[in-house]
């Protein structure tokens, strides 16, 4: 504060000194003049005349000392700020538009940046790939050990290849305060392949990564921090996991994350033996050699892949393909398209906002024409004026940017709140330095963009004379800008419309099950206590009667999986044999889902048995095996024959006793068959491979009671058998709506952006028309004086608005046809270039646009000719 005051004082005294120096000169000259005989007054005047314009010269002198860039910038800024305060409506509108555009872009960018652009926390992450076999069983590629071992030995395209055992496993830190943790089993070269070095301690050695080696573990930074208080002496100590002692070799760095984005508290060696055949799936990652492309790597791996196919059971072979994709693609799964769509949508909103502000500035610059002309006449250089205008728009954009950050933080919180699960890295999205930097640069670029139009139209001094006549060219530019805004809004509207329609389609598919009044519960039995099929069966045998105790609730089902979501078992159609029919050709027909259910499954979910009968309790004691087919599977296996009574071979031979109606999952129908759960350890039960077996199970209960009570009751019953078993409860309706969560999220966001776009465009067209009315008030006055009715005048204005709206709509329609094509897989059952959506969006746009123009047209119609003509 003191330095400011000093600066001010110095500035003041400097001005005084300039003045004193010049008046000394003038006095001396006047004295000379008097000495040479002039009269007193004349002498002074002559001195002044001789000297010239003192103000201008002082200004010149001042520039010699003070016209640093910074000082004139401060001057410009102060001038701009005063101007903004003087016209608050303009300023608020412009800041509102900028904040909306910048805020929306920042929020979306902060999410999308993590998905699309930001580098992954590994060294040279662009060289990292995920390698494996893709199959319909798993949306991610995997390898069995018998394939991985030779691949690792003979592969050529990679510098390094590593693996971890798919899926983090729950493990219990069995110490004083036992806690359940996530353990990931990784190969010894896992960290080096990703270029990660432990924060403390060391990685596993190859010797520790062998079966029966001494047990070791690495801790995540988070676990080390929360559980062990960042104890630096922890390395080398032992902890007990699932009752076994493990030596801690190292602590992972804080930035560590699993390449698959799973949460992991501990890494332990996966101890893969070269001869292992136990069926565990591996996730394999590799680092490409320099200069090797994905295609080259895939070609190089083909021979090994073909070799490995031989170890795949015959029915699955044709379903498998080799897949090598970048780590980023593996991580973001199918979020790429949606990310780009959202990014493009906010870019459109930002452009609309910029065009809007440019428009406002143009209107303002026309109002300031006189001021500018006066400043030019007083000697302001053209460049100086341009700089002033650019400074103003930059100031505006920076203010807008700051307000935009506030908008962005609100929007981001909203996005995260309404976002469905499974959007990669959403939890990490934040307005950090990088995002704010992009926002800042973005605002400046916007500022330059919308400042350019008015800046290039700074008037010359001559326009001081004829200042009222200019403006037609400028109006053309402004109307073009409005048309552009309308066009961009229409593209957003059609995009949002199509997504909404797709969402509506998705939500109104008949699932084929009755979702009301059904409560479901899912759980996975602990690995330790339920490793054997006998233990699993024993649990279910205890659970069933307990659930049925309260059977008045309604029908109850036990199954390994439930539609429409969650993991379920499947096998290739070709692996189902029908007695008395030739086996199907391999790889024809895709996958068939199957479920292991109790008789209550069909009544609980409301799936009607169309033909034959459902399961009954007595079947569970029978030595016979029974199976129920879904309609579509029956058609595939038996074509027109009657399947009832026929025998098919799946897990074990079984007789078909009924045909159930199809269940639609999402946007497609998967053929299914249902195997009956028995009370004994039959072939189906004991055939399932450890470690998973039948540990995963779901309960479904149809009950008129409120879901909260029912869920409490289910939890109590489960807890009475196994108090530590976690149970996930959801109503069937929640599970079904989970399917449409993602499309709903994207549709909501796009609708939001379309709303912003159309709001801004409406403000834009209102502004231009209101301005037009103001400009033409005199002309309107004349017209009215000559007998034009208010209706004619109103039409005149509306016609003008309609002309530009139509121009914008035409361009927007063309743009929509191009843009909505990119939505592709985001749409379900929406015809390309859906005419209904296009028509609806266009109508909405026309209505809003003409609505916005209607207000100024009313004003034009109410112009009082007397007032208008008296003006100026």
């Amino acid at each position: 504060m003191k330095s400011v005051r000093n600066w001010w004082r110095r500035k003041r005294s400097f001005t005084n000194e300039l003045h004193e120096e010049i008046s000394f000169h003038l006095d001396m000259r006047a004295q000379r003049n008097r000495e040479s005989g002039m009269a007193g007054r004349e002498a002074v005047q002559a001195a002044h005349r001789h000297f010239g314009n003192t103000t201008l010269i002082q200004e010149d002198m001042r520039r010699m000392h003070t016209n640093t860039f910074l000082e004139s910038l401060v001057q410009d800024l102060r001038y701009a700020a005063r101007g903004f305060v003087r016209s608050p409506v303009f300023t608020l509108t412009a800041v509102f538009a900028a904040a909306l555009g910048i805020g929306a872009s920042t929020a979306v960018f902060s999410v999308v940046d993590r998905i699309l652009f930001r580098s992954l926390p590994y060294s040279q992450a662009d060289h990292l790939v995920s390698v494996g076999m893709a199959s319909p069983l798993d949306r991610n590629e995997f390898l069995f050990p018998e394939a991985y071992v030779p691949w690792r030995a003979y592969q050529k395209p990679f510098q390094a290849i590593t693996s971890w055992t798919a899926g983090v496993a729950a493990c219990d830190l069995s110490e004083i305060n036992p806690v359940r943790l996530d353990c990931a089993k990784v190969e010894a070269n896992f960290l080096p392949t990703f270029g990660i070095t432990p924060f403390l301690g060391r990685n596993f050695t190859a010797a520790e990564d062998r079966p029966n080696a001494p047990r070791v573990a690495m801790l995540s930074y988070g676990l080390w921090q929360t559980r062990f208080g960042r104890n630096p002496n922890l390395v080398g100590k032992q902890i007990r996991l699932d009752g076994q002692p493990f030596t801690i070799t190292g602590i992972l760095p804080p930035s560590f994350e699993m390449p698959t984005l799973n949460h992991a508290d501990l890494l332990i060696p996966q101890a893969l033996s070269d001869t292992e055949r136990n069926g565990r799936a591996l996730r394999v990652f590799a680092r490409l050699k320099d200069g090797v492309t994905l295609e080259q790597a895939e070609a190089a791996m083909q021979p090994l892949f073909q070799q490995s196919l031989k170890s795949v059971p015959a029915p699955f072979r044709n379903e498998m393909r080799l897949r090598i994709r970048s780590l980023r693609d593996r991580q973001i799964q199918d979020a790429r398209l949606a990310s780009w769509v959202l990014l493009a949508a906010v870019a459109a909103v930002l452009l609309i906002a910029c065009a809007n502000i440019a428009n406002l500035l143009l209107a303002r610059s026309l109002n300031r024409q006189r001021e500018m002309a006066v400043r030019t006449a007083l000697g302001a250089g053209r460049l100086r004026l341009i700089r002033q205008i650019i400074t103003e728009s930059l100031l505006l954009s920076v203010i807008g940017g700051i307000a935009g950050c506030a908008v962005a933080s609100v929007l981001l919180r909203t996005f995260v709140g309404i976002a469905p699960d499974g959007i990669p890295r959403l939890a990490q999205a934040a307005l950090d330095t990088r995002v704010l930097l992009v926002t800042f640069v973005g605002s400046l670029v916007c500022g330059l963009f919308f400042g350019l139009a008015p800046a290039l139209q700074t008037p010359r001094a001559e326009s001081l004379a004829g200042w009222r006549t200019t403006g037609t060219r400028r109006l053309l530019l402004r109307e073009t800008l409005v048309a552009a805004q309308l066009a961009a809004s229409l593209v957003l509207l059609t995009g949002a419309g199509m997504l909404l329609r797709s969402l509506w389609n998705l939500e109104n598919i008949s699932m084929g099950i009755e979702t009301e009044h059904v409560v479901t519960a899912e759980f996975v039995l602990g690995k330790q206590a339920y490793s054997k099929p006998e233990q699993q069966l024993a649990f279910f045998e205890q659970l069933e009667p307990r659930l049925r105790q309260l059977g008045y609730l309604g029908p109850i089902a036990l199954s390994d999986s439930l539609p429409p979501s969650g993991p379920s078992r499947s096998r290739p159609l070709a692996a189902i044999h029908v007695d008395g029919r030739p086996p199907l050709a391999e790889g024809s027909g895709g996958m068939v889902t199957w479920r292991f259910v109790t008789p209550g499954y069909f009544p609980t979910l409301g799936i009607p048995i169309l033909h034959g009968r459902g399961f009954v309790e007595e079947d569970r004691a029978s030595n016979e095996n029974f199976v129920i087919l879904s309609q579509s599977l029956a058609a595939k296996l038996f074509a027109h024959d009657d399947p009832l009574g026929k025998r098919i071979r799946t897990e074990s031979p079984a007789t078909v006793i009924g045909i159930a109606r199809d269940v639609n999952i999402g946007d497609h129908t998967e053929p299914e068959y249902y195997v009956l759960r028995k009370h004994i350890l039959d072939a189906t039960f004991s055939n399932q491979m450890p470690p998973n077996g039948w540990r995963r199970a779901s309960i479904a209960i149809r009950t008129p009671l409120n879901p909260k009570e029912t869920s409490g009751w289910i939890r109590r019953e489960v807890a009475s058998i196994d108090p530590v078993l976690p149970v996930t409860i959801a109503t069937m309706q929640e599970r079904v709506s989970g399917l449409t969560q993602r499309p709903r999220f994207i549709a909501i966001l796009l609708s939001l952006f379309a709303g912003m776009g159309i709001l801004l465009a409406a403000i834009g067209i209102y502004g231009v028309m209101a301005f037009l009315v103001g400009q033409r008030a005199q002309e309107i006055g004349v017209r009215m004086a000559l007998g034009a009715t208010p209706a004619v005048i109103g039409k005149l204005i509306l016609a003008r608005a309609a002309l530009w709206t139509l121009a914008g709509a035409t361009i927007g329609l063309a743009g929509s046809l191009l843009a909505t094509r990119t939505l592709g897989t985001l749409l379900f059952n929406v015809p390309p270039n859906d005419p209904a959506t296009l028509a609806a969006a266009t109508t909405l746009l026309l209505l809003i646009s003409l609505g916005a123009a209607w207000i100024p047209s009313r004003k034009a119609a109410s112009v009082d000719p007397m007032v208008a003509l008296r003006h100026d």
């Binding site: 000194e17 004193e20 120096e21 010049i22 000394f24 000169h25 006095d27 001396m28 000259r29 001789h50 000297f51 010239g52 314009n53 201008l56 010269i57 010149d60 002198m61 520039r63 010699m64 000392h65």
Partner: protein
Amino acid sequence: MALAPDNLQGTLVLLILKTLTRGPNHGFGIALHIQTVSDSALRVEEGSLYPALHRLERDKLVAAEWKVTENSRRARYYKLTPAGHKWLAAAEENWTALAKGVNKVLRFA
């Protein structure tokens, strides 16, 4: 935007600096001197004199201070700095060379 000694625009500057070799002086004194010495052939444009003086001050070729004149008025006195002396020497040389050159051309034609 420091001045180069071979800048022709520096003619006024040359005259100012030369005048100041006689000792510190104020703007009016400088103007008067140039006018008198050149027998009124050179009339200093006063509108450019003061900005030029201030530019010289900014470029540290002259230094300025407030002093009281003979008839006890405060005036801003300018005097040459060592840099100003050096600049002047170079500029004078340039000027002479230029004048010679121009003279030769004029005579030849």
